[in-house]
Symmetry: C2
Amino acid sequence: MSKKQINTKVLSGFVELLPEQQFIFDCIKSRVELSYAKAGYVAIDTPVIEKSEVLFAKAGGDTEKQVYRFTKGDNDLSLRFDLTVPFARYVSEHYNDLVFPFKRYHIAKVYRGERAQKGRYREFYQADIDIVSEDSLSVMYDVDIISTLAKTIENLSNLCSLGNFKMKISNRKIWDGFFEEFSISGEQKASIMNIIDKKAKITAEVFDTELSERVKNPNVEKLIKELFELEFIPNVGVSIPEKYHSDFAFINDNEKMKQGIRELEVVMKSLETISKDRFVIDLSIVRGLDYYTGTVFETFLENYPEFGSVSSGGRYENLCDNYTDKKICGVGGSIGLSRLFIPLIESGAISENNISKSMIDVLVLPQGENCYFRAFEIKNKILNETIYKTSIIYENKKFKKLMEYANKVGAKYVVIIGEDEVANNTVSVKNMITGEQQTVSINDALEIIKEKV
Amino acid sequence: MSKKQINTKVLSGFVELLPEQQFIFDCIKSRVELSYAKAGYVAIDTPVIEKSEVLFAKAGGDTEKQVYRFTKGDNDLSLRFDLTVPFARYVSEHYNDLVFPFKRYHIAKVYRGERAQKGRYREFYQADIDIVSEDSLSVMYDVDIISTLAKTIENLSNLCSLGNFKMKISNRKIWDGFFEEFSISGEQKASIMNIIDKKAKITAEVFDTELSERVKNPNVEKLIKELFELEFIPNVGVSIPEKYHSDFAFINDNEKMKQGIRELEVVMKSLETISKDRFVIDLSIVRGLDYYTGTVFETFLENYPEFGSVSSGGRYENLCDNYTDKKICGVGGSIGLSRLFIPLIESGAISENNISKSMIDVLVLPQGENCYFRAFEIKNKILNETIYKTSIIYENKKFKKLMEYANKVGAKYVVIIGEDEVANNTVSVKNMITGEQQTVSINDALEIIKEKV
């Protein structure tokens, strides 16, 4: 039949959850929101549609190909592909009305029309935090971003039983200073950084071969490998192991490396007060080539290595240089909500059992039309006098069918109003977990429900 | 300079709030969300982008012209212009996985590229609730929708001091049965309904003239005017005033009118238990011509008549008939969040004073770099051991500048960590409302803050 010819599936690469799944995703999303807000970040909301000239002021190549771009009237428009470019525009536009340092969060959907593949969505939620200011920003703000993300992921881990996670931290100034020392720049530097970035994903042998092919200098190659052993020792600081000290004597005259190490030390020393083993130095974290200028970090779930980094970010300069002459520097990070949680929810790895909340706490069930009005009054009483999510259904169905409905919507308690209950001004309360049922006054019913939900 | 040539203003018809304004809007939005969820509605989230054939299965004319439509690869795509069509697609697609009656809410942005004018946005939030089922649905669900919206608007009114509001209720079956009685149909019926819909917005004289021109039958005209006096009398029911009883004797044989009046009576009788004067019968509420088939309602704020109806909805049949042969009927309603609240927030009619929440509760202020580390530890203690939104800024600025910042972000308390405080293991707590400042231990500071925030 013709009406069936309209395919009601969502577009390929898009995702749509069933209500039970959506409930879990929304619990996770609002936990992130609460965690960000509690740490002093404030929300902004920008249009999904931006002028193309705004979005493409900087981007190019692959990004531009992926964007949903179209015209409406005379306007060349695009859907945002991340939350950073709109943030840069927002800060430039509202510069005079913002108070710096400006700590903002933005949890919203972004759009990338990339080839559909497992774990990649064309519409997905990002959850970003950033701190930006004019001219300069203490390295303690790097700590603020990392500790806020750590606390947020810890909250999520508790909520969803995700297990332990580690945050790997580095500082781009250390590599930048190092390569300057040996006059390595341009394409060669990019190619070496590229293999450093891949270190954790390839074998030691492949890494060694690739590194030596790209560095073409056995001494530098040796120093790079030694630099990976840079360590943080509580009460001492961040340093290269003593056995390599003579190899790195040149650092004393390399301001950029020294500053990178100093910054990393402040970050590690601060984070160590939060957890002794969550935060580790890993110089293979470099996060792309151009954008970041100092601290960089990535986050890995021990039980889910297949997701790669679930939260990353770092320090950057000149956020707004496409839009304003003001120098706005900042530090930020992001949690890829959809990419991490949608597969876990769809596979059942995270279920309603993990979330200590229910879609419906109390379901009121009138048995037959004669009980509807009384049931409506009882429902309002529960709704208005308790904190519980309270629903009611008016169905002329057999008791068994009504109980099936209650089970399907996950009600913790049902309040049954039959003709006897109406006549006697009572209600029957059934605990859906224990199966226990009592016929009592409405006030006693409220007490029973309050005790248990 | 060339970088200044990129205009960072949002597109015409789009809206973007400053952080303080966004905070208020988000408080309102989450109050709506909580109210819907508490009343047993569950959230869904659908893609912003839909296939054009899905969106345009029913729509046409003006709607189609307003839509943001574009192609990506081989796909003809559009941004959703409401939340109802995506809901119909969702129900059709997930029919086998949903439990009916299905009570859902959806609070999200929709897109209409209409001519930009005051109070009209091209991207705006709708907050919809609907209850749908197969085949049939008790009129008590109409009560569920109206009472949930009433409670939600009451919550918003308390939050934002909006003042009193009235919900005007009618039932389309009454008019449908009436016009059938007098063999008025097609264009003539549409034209009469159209002037009935405008009754509240025009003078009695204009209404009378227009009505008589369209009805062309003095008796029917008289009956229409009498029908507007249909009233609800508690403990009696919904009826036409006694003086007109003989004029309406025909109702006894008009099943549709009788059913409409019966439904309206159930609705009014139920709503009367919630409020004696909030809900009124008003037969001039007709809500468009085709979609609704029973109960219809609109909501008016007494202090803000200029907004017109701020929440409307009604009963409909065959929600999904473009996508499936299943008969899905339902009842629903919506609050136009952006249309109502953005002007009130932008004009300052709703400010942070109306919202009993603050963006930042406690701001920790280290005075100089030597105090950063200690301040970081104190901030974490407050953050982890209280429910308060706690921020910190690391700025080497004069005390006065720091206090200015605290005022601008709306902090209720500041916790000052200077060199004396570090040396003595104390903190100074300043109440930003009273100006009172005390130097105490961190634990005492926590007690002071807990008492007051």
